[in-house]
């Protein structure tokens, strides 16, 4: 069964790029445009192998989303990666405190993305 990954980002370009890279490698992806939509989706999903989420998003930001997701029993231990930029060192810590597993620093290429995904989700 392919691993299922949720990608949360308000940028369609980033979302689709990540999804493209991951599906080429045999992963199954679903996408949400912000934290609130993602959280709603989690309600109807049984399990996920990984969540990749941006930080700055309208409605519900990445940090808030991670906190809420960790409150759900079925996503208590799901690996979560935060998308950050190199200037946002503090976001990495904030993300970890909220319950993230690790982070991906933008910009990244497919090798780097896949390396990190493999590290936390395989």
């Amino acid at each position: 069964m392919p691993k299922k990954i949720l990608i949360v980002d308000d940028s369609a370009a980033i979302r689709q790029s990540i999804s493209f890279i991951l599906t080429q490698e045999g992963y199954e992806t679903i996408e949400a445009t912000d934290g609130l939509e993602a959280l709603t989706m989690l309600g109807s999903i049984e399990a996920l192998d990984l969540i990749i989420t941006d930080v700055n998003m309208p409605n519900l930001d990445g940090i808030g989303f991670i906190r809420k997701a960790r409150e759900l029993a079925k996503f208590k231990f799901t690996p979560i990666l935060v998308l950050t930029t190199e200037s946002q060192g503090s976001k990495m810590n904030e993300g970890k405190e909220a319950g993230a597993t690790g982070w991906i620093v933008k910009p990244f290429n497919s090798d780097k993305l896949l390396g990190i995904v493999k590290k936390v989700a395989e």
């Binding site: 493209f20 690996p79 190199e86 970890k96 936390v120």
Partner: protein, 706 residues
């Protein structure tokens, strides 16, 4: 890189323009309500997203400019600076500048670059007011991402040995961290001896199942620098105690003594060591007896000693492998099979004789044989890379012939597979690769127009996935033409014109016999004898083939192949006194049916399974077994299997369960048995036949038609 996200560039551009539009609206509104936090937030988000995406898609000038604007807006957002009319003016100018910079992916004209420079300086000035003196200005930060230390490590670094202690904190699971992954990754860096410590795991009654108790000591040798070790643990820096020390090897190359290692580690004092050495017993035992060190401490020190010793042996044994004729290897596998059988008889005999000493010998014998079998199987494994060169040649010759430019990139050449499987994979792979060059990769001038590099790339990769190896052939060509495939499929009568069919299923039709979408017949592929042959061969290997495509960007064929043909996972079943094995990969499910219900079906022999009509056959009847002694059972068991593209049911006497089995070629005795592909020896020495599901399906299908 074969995978390119460039085709999302247009999405990025649209998105950026839209975001810059929002930014403008926000800034204009902010002018009249400068304290509106939500507006500042929204403006910040817009610029932040533009910055991040621009960097991803190579718009460096945009990214750099947006970065300074973001810094300034962030200071306003967190209240350090307040929004003034001047700032709004500057920000709007900045926005316009970004809009202009979006036109230049690279090579910004000097004039515009100068304007950017001036504006940037003003943003930096603005931000400076909000920063404490001495804080670094972001404008000083050069380049896009952090340097990857993995690549920056010196190539010719000399081999070093490290002792790494990794103690995860109790709560490490709570962040979704997969601790074993980290240890695996670490061990893969070089030659590793890994020593797990489980002594802190309490008995079940006292265990918190969601806390981590385990910790590791790892000895790692290779041309590795400390940073690449620490990098693995970067996500858990604050959730683990990580110690990395370099182990000094003895200058004269002699093995290190256990005592020295323990002293080195601070596990025991030099004085205590001298005292213990005076005793006649083994050092480790004395130290443990005296409670000077714990058993795991000594064990892990012994591991270190062994690790260092092996390192030296490795240097001495320069030539590590020999060549062996493959038929000798096959003979070895056969012999091991015989041994397994013989051992089963020995075990039975010792049981019958109730001789304790004999049964203890038999048990030891059994253990040795199972190790021997595992070892023998591992000898048959070869790296798939040995066949890669052949494919490089195929790509080169064919692209030359067709006037195309293409190269082959490979990955995972050291992935190991059973040698028989590798041999049988050759032809299908050649066909898939040819197909990619022929149908996938466009002519150079067409690629040029599409904004792709003239030379296409075909990527061949292999990697392990459980008991399977995934082999992928992907190209960056034009991808599959959905409509062309659809009309062809209709023309060939594979689907009806009115039929709505999912893309994935549609592409799968390419594997159907007689399918070809090429406009003219070329010498290489396009005669329609291609992909169906591939499919058949892969099926025969117990694998599967999948196709995916992104129109305009290429397609990928994924082959999922079992690691070995010699060992398969099977479902053991019984009919009368005989045992049979059904390959587990073909099993869909098992159901129970009342015998009366079966009888009521009469001649029809078709049942409904998951809303599908499935023909079935009773293996008891098929192999002409006599009815069971005390009448047939009340409840019949049926195994549903998938063969070719349909399902059939097999009525059996008993489903026993999963069984991993070593397959042997059929002896002369069984060669004429229909629907059987091989034999295997069960633990007690009885022979079980391996069912050929495809063959059975054919027979059943034929009968149900009649």
């Amino acid at each position: 890189m074969a995978l390119s996200i460039d085709k999302f560039k247009s999405t990025f551009r649209e998105e950026a323009f839209e975001l810059l539009g929002h930014l403008e609206d926000d800034l204009l509104e902010l002018e009249s309500q400068p304290k509106n936090g939500e507006l500042i937030n929204s403006a910040f988000r817009a610029i932040h997203t533009v910055k991040g995406s621009a960097a991803m898609f190579g718009y460096d000038a945009v990214s750099k400019f947006a970065h300074e604007m973001e810094t300034a807006l962030d200071l306003c957002r967190n209240g350090t600076l307040s929004i003034t009319k001047d700032f709004i003016g500057l920000a709007l100018k900045g926005r316009d500048q970004l809009r202009q910079l979006m036109e230049f992916e690279e090579g910004v004209p000097t004039e515009i670059a100068k304007e950017s420079e001036l504006l940037l300086r003003r943003f930096v000035e603005f931000s400076k007011r909000g920063q404490s003196p001495g804080a670094p200005s972001h404008a000083d930060i050069q380049g896009a991402g952090p340097v990857d230390p993995g690549n920056s490590s010196p190539r010719n670094a000399e081999a070093k040995t490290y002792r790494i202690t990794f103690k995860p904190s109790k709560g490490i699971f709570k962040n979704g961290t997969r601790v074993l992954n980290l240890v695996e990754e670490l061990a893969a860096l070089g030659r590793a001896d890994v020593f797990p410590h489980m002594e802190d795991v309490p008995p079940l009654g006292a265990l918190d199942p969601e806390s981590c108790y385990a910790w590791w000591e790892v000895l790692l040798s290779g041309p590795i620098d400390e940073n690449s070790i620490r990098d693995i643990f970067i996500f858990v820096e604050d959730q683990a105690d990580l110690r990395v020390e370099q182990v000094k090897e003895e200058a004269d190359g002699s093995s290190k003594r256990l005592g020295d290692i323990l002293v080195d580690r601070g596990a025991v004092s030099p004085g205590a060591l001298r005292e213990a050495l005076g005793s006649q017993k083994k050092l480790g035992e004395v130290l443990i007896e005296k409670n000077l060190v714990s058993t795991p401490q000594v064990e892990s020190a012994l591991v270190e000693q062994e690790h260092l010793k092996k390192g030296q042996e490795r240097v001495e044994a320069a030539a590590g492998s020999i060549r062996v004729a493959s038929d000798k290897l096959d003979a070895l596998v056969d012999l091991v099979g015989e041994l397994v059988t013989l051992q089963a008889r020995l075990a039975q005999t010792s049981l019958d004789l109730r001789d304790v000493s004999l049964s203890s010998v038999s048990e030891q014998f059994e253990r040795l044989i199972s190790q021997l079998r595992d070892n023998t199987m591992s000898i048959r494994m070869l790296p798939i890379g040995s066949t890669f060169n052949k494919f490089r040649r195929v790509v080169r010759d064919l692209s030359l012939e067709l006037g195309k430019e293409a190269e082959l990139a490979t990955e995972g050449a050291d992935t190991e597979l059973d040698k028989t499987v590798i041999e049988r994979l050759g032809d299908p792979l050649v066909h898939i690769i040819r197909n990619s060059v022929d149908h996938g990769i466009e002519m150079p001038e067409v690629r040029d127009l599409a904004g792709k590099p003239k030379a296409g790339v075909i990527k061949l990769s292999a990697r392990h996935s459980g008991a399977y190896v995934l082999i992928q052939v992907s190209d960056d060509g034009k991808g599959l033409d959905r409509e062309a495939i659809r009309s062809k499929a209709i023309e060939r009568g594979l689907i009806l014109p009115s039929m709505e069919i999912a893309d994935q299923e549609l592409y799968q039709l390419i594997f159907e016999p007689g399918f070809s979408t090429a406009k003219k017949v070329t010498t290489v592929s396009g005669r329609g004898v291609g992909m169906d042959v591939v499919k058949r061969e892969i099926d025969a290997l117990g694998g599967s083939a999948q196709l995916s495509t992104v129109p305009g960007a290429g397609m990928t064929v994924t082959l999922k192949i079992p690691l070995t043909l010699a060992i398969i996972d099977g479902l053991l079943i019984r009919i009368g006194g005989e045992f049979f094995v059904v390959p587990l990969s073909a099993v869909d499910g098992c159901i129970e049916i009342r015998r009366d219900d079966l009888a009521a079906l009469g001649e029809k022999r078709i049942i409904s399974y998951r809303d599908e009509l499935v023909p079935f056959v009773s293996l008891r009847g098929f192999y002409e077994f006599a009815a069971e002694g005390e009448g047939e059972p009340e409840i019949e068991q049926m195994v549903i299997v998938s063969a070719q593209d349909y399902r059939i049911g097999l009525v059996v006497d008993q489903v026993i369960g999963d069984y991993q089995t070593v397959i042997k070629p059929l002896g002369r005795m069984y060669r004429d048995v229909d629907g059987v592909s091989g034999a295997t020896i069960l633990g007690d020495g009885t022979v079980a036949l391996v069912l050929d599901v495809n063959r059975l399906a054919l027979v059943v299908q034929r009968e149900s038609v009649r």
